[in-house]
């Protein structure tokens, strides 16, 4: 491994590329050569560091200086100042106060990184970086000193559960696949991370792809498979690219392919891309998609461990599950099971989104309370608004109101509260959020993503959406809540796969915890959070309005009239309640009722 004094990480995300990141990077390389620094400074590509809008941007390590907004003309100056003279070129430094590195901000004391340990620290496109962090040691240990049964035993003892959402013990799954006699067998990694707001798998694939590959090799050896597939969604082009580079590098070092590390064990990997279908995250649909078919789920049993991909026994786990395996093998089941709660061991990554001060990706030990996750790790609610609910578990999960803030976040507690772990999306909603609108929103998502194979899901979700749209539109009627409850019950009971069975959850939990809001919409034709357009009205307050004309000039439908320096008036017949006037008013003169 070659050593460098400095590492320069250039962001090559689309937005930075648009700002000319590649040109600046090329100029940077040329300048390093010109100034004789090329053997001391390594230039690498990375995904976004956090200030793409002010790009191009790059980060210099080990100092951790974040440069932004330079052109090719500025490069000689920056190189000379920083790398030759050792002075920070202040003009281009992003002030530490404004570093908005939501995804990789320094961990708070409540966090603990196992899966994300290497993300942002190593160059994902250089296998040697991973190897320097004990990478592939677990594969070596397994192939040279362990039997498949010992691996399964270790996993069972560790208590690792599937991180895709359902939380099935990983060791048991591997055992089932191992016990299937038919061959060939397959190992599949589910990287079809489709839950809105969940991007932890993307981060792992882009930041530490070898950890996933390592976990899959061990799974292959344990279950008796020699071919693996990673099914990655097409919305993640950078992840697919990084993964393919990683696979190529692993092959070149003999860590994939024939006779891995001289052990006589063969295993190879292939990346398959989706084409935009949420339901493909369901394991049977995912396998149908790999086979080149419509991504429709099929009933289980038979389970994939018996009849999976191409009709053969298949072990399928999520990205995060595989990424945990190497560390468990190296550090032992005892270490892993010491983290977490009685039934939920280890850590879990969460993608914190919504109305938080510090949204982004975090990894925390299971059993942390919701309050700690929202306030200590997530920094609390934006604008210091009140906490209304946390939507956890994605579109099949539920929302938890404030009374659950002290609920420990583990598989069982979440289910008992009417939500679920899901893949780790956590959307925090503040008190300006309308829960009927949120329920409508999630139903819009699931009815759109329903594959259409089974009737309860295809038709049922559509009916629920229609009712919710009516309620938001101010046309709710007596009996709507009861109809919704009935529909939800039937869809949960009768749907074919997890998508349909979980689809009503957001509605069920919203009606359970925020029934008063549904009633206000239906009976009083009022949206308490002032979100639903048909139920709110805008007016301009006399005395506060200065007649500056900003609102009238910005109104898209010309509903506002008034002379300069005179009170302005909104014509309710023309107004479409878009709220732009309230946004642009500098004097808070626009009132919402």
């Amino acid at each position: 491994m070659k050593y460098f004094r400095s590492h320069v990480l250039f962001c090559v995300d689309p937005e930075c590329l648009k700002h000319g990141a590649h040109e600046v990077m090329d100029a940077f390389q040329d300048e390093l050569v010109a100034q004789g620094l090329i053997d001391e400074v390594q230039v690498l590509e990375t995904s976004r560091i956090g200030a793409c809008s002010q790009g191009p941007e790059f980060m210099v390590y080990p100092e951790g200086v974040h440069y932004i907004g330079m052109t090719t003309d500025d490069v000689p100056f920056i190189v000379e100042e920083h790398f030759l003279k050792g002075r920070i070129a202040k003009k281009f430094v992003l002030e530490p106060v404004t570093v908005v590195d939501e995804e990789l901000s320094a961990p708070t004391p409540k966090e603990m990184r196992i899966v994300l340990r290497n993300c942002g620290k190593i160059d994902p496109e250089n296998i040697e970086d991973y190897i320097a962090e004990d990478g592939y040691q677990a594969v070596a240990k397994v192939l040279s000193t362990m039997t498949p049964d010992q691996v399964i035993d270790e996993l069972l003892k560790s208590g690792l559960r599937g991180r895709g959402g359902a939380g099935f013990p990983a060791g048991k799954k591997w055992q089932f696949a191992r016990n299937s006699v038919e061959t060939p067998k397959y190992v599949v990694c589910n990287a079809d991370e489709g839950d809105p707001g969940a991007f932890m798998n993307r981060r792992v694939l882009e930041g530490d792809p070898h950890a996933v590959i390592e976990g899959m090799i061990i799974a292959g050896f344990t279950t008796g498979s020699d071919q693996g597939y990673v099914y990655c969604r097409a919305e993640y082009p950078v992840a697919v690219r990084t993964l393919n580079i990683a696979i190529e590098q692993a092959r070149s070092l003999g860590l994939l392919g024939k006779n891995i590390l001289g052990s006589g064990y063969d295993f190879d990997l292939e990346v398959r891309m989706g084409a935009g279908a949420f339901v493909c995250g369901e394991e049977t649909a995912l396998m149908a998609s790999i086979e080149g078919k419509r991504g429709e789920p099929r009933p289980r049993p038979p389970f994939p461990a018996v009849k999976g991909l191409f009709g053969k026994p298949t072990n399928i786990n999520n990205v995060e599950t595989y990424a945990n395996v190497g560390q468990i093998i190296l550090k032992g089941a005892e270490w892993y099971s010491s983290i977490g709660t009685k039934t939920s061991k280890g850590t879990k990554t969460f993608a914190l989104a919504g109305d938080l001060k510090k949204p982004g990706l975090v990894e925390v030990p299971l059993g942390i309370t919701l309050r700690e996750l929202v306030y200590d790790v997530g920094g609390g609610i934006k604008d210091d608004n009140g906490f209304k609910a946390a939507q956890i578990g994605g579109p099949m999960g539920g929302c938890l109101p404030a009374k659950y803030l002290d609920l420990p976040v583990d598989y069982e507690s979440l289910i008992s509260a009417g939500a679920m772990m899901g893949s780790g999306g956590l959307i925090v909603l503040d008190d300006q959020t309308c829960m009927v609108d949120i329920a409508r929103y999630f139903m819009d998502f699931t009815q759109d993503e329903s594959c259409g194979k089974c009737t309860p899901c295809r038709v049922g979700t559509r009916r629920i959406l229609e009712i919710l749209e009516r309620i938001c539109d101010g046309k709710g009627k007596d009996g709507d809540i009861e109809t919704l409850e009935y529909l939800c019950r039937e869809i949960v009971a009768d749907s074919l796969c997890g998508l349909g069975q979980g689809a009503p959850n957001p509605v069920i939990s919203a009606m359970k915890h925020f029934r008063d809001e549904f009633e206000a919409h239906i009976y009083e034709k009022r949206c308490p959070a002032k979100v639903c357009r048909s139920l709110i009205h805008y007016s301009i307050t006399e005395g506060v309005c200065t007649g500056c004309t900003v609102c009238a000039r910005n109104c898209p439908v010309n509903a506002i009239t008034g002379e300069r320096r005179q009170l302005h008036v909104i014509d309710p017949d023309i107004c479409i309640s878009c709220g732009i006037c309230a946004q642009v008013c500098n004097f808070n003169a626009v009132e919402v009722k």
Partner: protein
């Protein structure tokens, strides 16, 4: 006569695109999604004539191919505009002002989701979560991603496209 020549040109383009895609991934039924994706990228969408070709080369009924092509969101069976706007209407974007941006976007291009403008410039779509929720609300124009957008920024962003 002129029209016929033109049609012939089109189908030659299609034949070439299909052939290139099938050559790249192999005439194998399992490779159908990568093949269709490739054709989609080369032609902007998957015309019926292309499905005929694929059907012949893969020895698979066209109905089968169409069922796959119409299932996946990223595969288009109708022509799209010169620029495709994909707006993320997922929860993390929705709750931080995405709804207002979406309204402004629809009004600005005078299209609803799934529509293509008459002059063939824009196609407006919603997309599944792009996983960049840290900078929500987010939209994608062709392959350029825009984050932290507000309704008033829409005209200036779109004016960058010819």
């Amino acid at each position: 006569m002129v029209l016929n020549t033109k049609q012939k040109d089109v189908s030659e383009t299609i034949i070439a695109a299909v052939k290139a895609a099938v050559d790249a991934f192999g005439a194998n039924r399992d490779e159908l999604i990568p093949i269709l994706n490739d054709i989609n990228m080369r032609l902007g969408y998957i015309p019926h004539e292309a499905l005929d070709q694929v059907s012949e080369m893969l020895k698979t009924p066209k109905s089968h191919l169409y069922s796959v092509a119409s299932f996946y969101r990223m595969l288009a069976t109708k022509p799209r505009g010169r620029h495709v706007i994909q707006f993320c209407e997922n929860a993390p974007c929705h709750v931080v002002g995405g709804r207002e941006v979406w309204q402004a976007l629809q009004e600005h291009v005078q299209l609803k989701s799934g529509e293509t403008s008459k002059d063939g410039k824009w196609t407006l779509l919603t997309t599944s979560c792009l996983g960049v929720c840290g900078v929500a609300p987010v939209m994608l124009v062709d392959e350029d991603i825009y984050g932290n957008i507000s309704p008033s920024e829409i005209p200036s962003i779109l004016s960058r496209y010819e």
